[in-house]
């Protein structure tokens, strides 16, 4: 029963790991701790809601929502962050800007979709049942996609020209100018990916649970705990810690109640920051 719960936990909250990767990519590139990333998960979920309730099939609606969020993320970057970063704004200014953006976006959607939580209309079928825990086709698909996206990210970063440029820009913007790499293009691309990843996480979380304007905000602390304990800016750390924390949360929820999951995340966060600010998996002397 417990093992089955762990598996199901990975299916239901696993997509959050993809969100953590998106958050990490942005931090890696621009050193922005983007709190508005919470809304990068909520907004596409509303896109999905609007598209599915107006009759579109789930899968095309899902893909459209993700892409729309990607495009929106790029626009938001250019309007709100690019100027500040170029001006050499401090970390604090960037963070507070992202908080302002987060609240503005959240209440904007709160104003349009007033009222209680909504459900995403989707029909699922139970694929198989083990020990009274049943698994739907959507859950299995989500898990498969989560791992596929993780591999795709690895492939993107290590095997493609764009991935190399992303890592190059993250390492040294001045050297990129010398090599003639266009940093704005890389910036746009990374925010696009971050938006799409946020969309993936947000849409699935809304589908498995319910949709309300606080969807993203309620998960952002868990997300930040993953990202910080994985070593800020370390994509693989985020992947590993993401899976570990998702499982820990599932286990804690299994034995106690749901609220304690977040409390465990907070404990991990504060312990990481206090003891190993470079991330739990970091080794000494390695960046």
């Amino acid at each position: 029963m417990f093992i089955e719960s762990l598996l199901q936990g990975l299916m239901v909250t696993g997509p959050l790991v993809i969100g953590a990767i998106g958050f990490t990519l942005v931090f890696k590139l621009d050193r922005v701790m983007n709190i508005a990333y919470a809304e990068f998960m909520t907004i596409p979920a509303y896109f999905l809601y609007v598209l599915t309730t107006s009759g579109l099939d789930f899968i095309p609606a899902f893909i459209l929502s993700m892409l729309a969020m990607g495009a929106l993320a790029v626009v938001l970057y250019w309007i709100f962050f690019d100027g500040l970063i170029k001006k050499g704004a401090s970390i604090v200014t960037l963070i507070i800007t992202s908080v302002g953006l987060s609240f503005a976006l959240r209440y904007f959607f709160g104003a349009i979709f007033t009222g209680a939580g909504r459900g995403i209309p989707v029909s699922t079928q139970t694929l198989f049942t083990i020990e009274r825990v049943s698994y739907t086709d959507l859950q299995v698909a989500a898990l498969v996609c989560t791992f596929l996206i993780m591999f795709a990210t690895h492939f993107l970063l290590t095997r493609t020209k764009m991935g190399r440029e992303i890592r190059a820009v993250a390492d040294s913007r001045s050297l990129c100018a010398i090599d003639g790499i266009s940093a704005p293009r890389v910036d746009s691309f990374v925010w696009l990916i971050a938006g799409i990843f946020g969309g993936f996480a947000g849409c699935l979380l809304a589908t498995f649970g319910s949709l309300n304007p606080n969807l993203g905000w309620n998960t952002i602390i868990f997300l930040v705990a993953i990202v910080v304990s994985g070593g800020l800016g370390n994509v693989y750390g985020a992947m590993v810690m993401g899976i570990i924390l998702v499982e820990v949360q599932t286990a804690v929820t299994f034995f106690t109640s749901f609220e304690y999951g977040n409390i465990v995340a907070f404990a991990v966060l504060i312990l990481t920051v206090a003891l190993k600010p470079k991330g739990i998996l970091s080794r000494r002397g390695k960046a």
Binding site: R164, S172, L175, A177, D179, G180
Partner: protein
């Protein structure tokens, strides 16, 4: 032909002027060295050429074009020039292979030609080939310098500007690096380097500039006297 010309350049960081009225030019072919001890203003000169800091007065011409005020990125995209800075010589979290390929990313060369250049670089530094897939910041000091040289060569540039190619290297490797610099010029690349090792650099250089406190104190192309070590000592010691 004048490849690079600097006229009456005043430049510095913020409001602190570091270079005072610098003028010199680099002619095509051979090695030109800008020499002087640490802190004389060599790196600052290079940064000023590539518009990486504040220029208060003066002009920079590259291949005859005025590039004063041009964006750094555009200079490198437009002209076949390589620059190896003193800090940030390579990307610390990319592998050796990736570092080299990134250096040739924006050239007009074909893929095959880039591959040939890559092979040439590996022939020059077999150690780099051994460590092809190693992350750059884990290399040893000498290997890092080899990687930086390699990156400078990847574009097969007409002009290679190199800030301290031998900094932090063991004496044996220093000689090899200087030999390589000479070797490069045989293929038609003009090399302009900054060095602290005045004596050794003089031996491989066609022309020599000496800087002290942000001013050029000796220019071999304009001076009738020959530069001797004695004179260098009288200037700096």
């Amino acid at each position: 032909m004048k490849i690079l010309e600097v006229k009456g350049l005043h430049a510095g960081y913020g409001t602190a002027e570091v270079l005072h009225d610098m003028s010199f030019d680099i002619k095509s072919g051979g090695v030109t060295s800008i020499l002087g001890p640490n802190g004389a203003g060599k790196s600052t000169t290079f940064k000023a050429i590539f518009q990486l800091l504040n220029i208060y007065k003066g002009k920079v011409y590259l291949f005859g074009d005025d590039i004063t005020g041009m964006a750094t990125k555009d200079i490198f995209n437009k002209y076949n020039v390589s620059y190896v800075p003193q800090e940030d010589k390579f990307y610390p979290n990319l592998t050796v292979d990736e570092n080299l390929e990134t250096a040739a990313l924006r050239t007009k060369k074909t893929k095959e030609k880039t591959k040939d250049t890559l092979k040439e670089v590996y022939d020059l530094f077999p150690r780099l080939l051994e460590r092809k897939n190693q992350i750059a910041h884990t290399l040893s000091g000498g290997e890092k310098q080899m990687l930086a040289v390699g990156r400078g060569l990847m574009k097969s540039p007409d002009l290679l500007i190199y800030d301290e190619p031998t900094g932090g290297l063991a004496p044996v490797i220093v000689n090899i690096v200087f030999d390589i610099m000479k070797e490069i010029t045989k293929k038609g690349t003009t090399v302009f380097l900054a060095e602290e090792k005045i004596g050794q650099s003089m031996k491989i250089s066609k022309e020599v500039l000496l800087v002290k406190n942000g001013e050029i104190v000796f220019d071999s192309s304009k001076s009738k006297q020959k530069l001797t070590m004695k004179k260098v000592k009288s200037i700096y010691m």
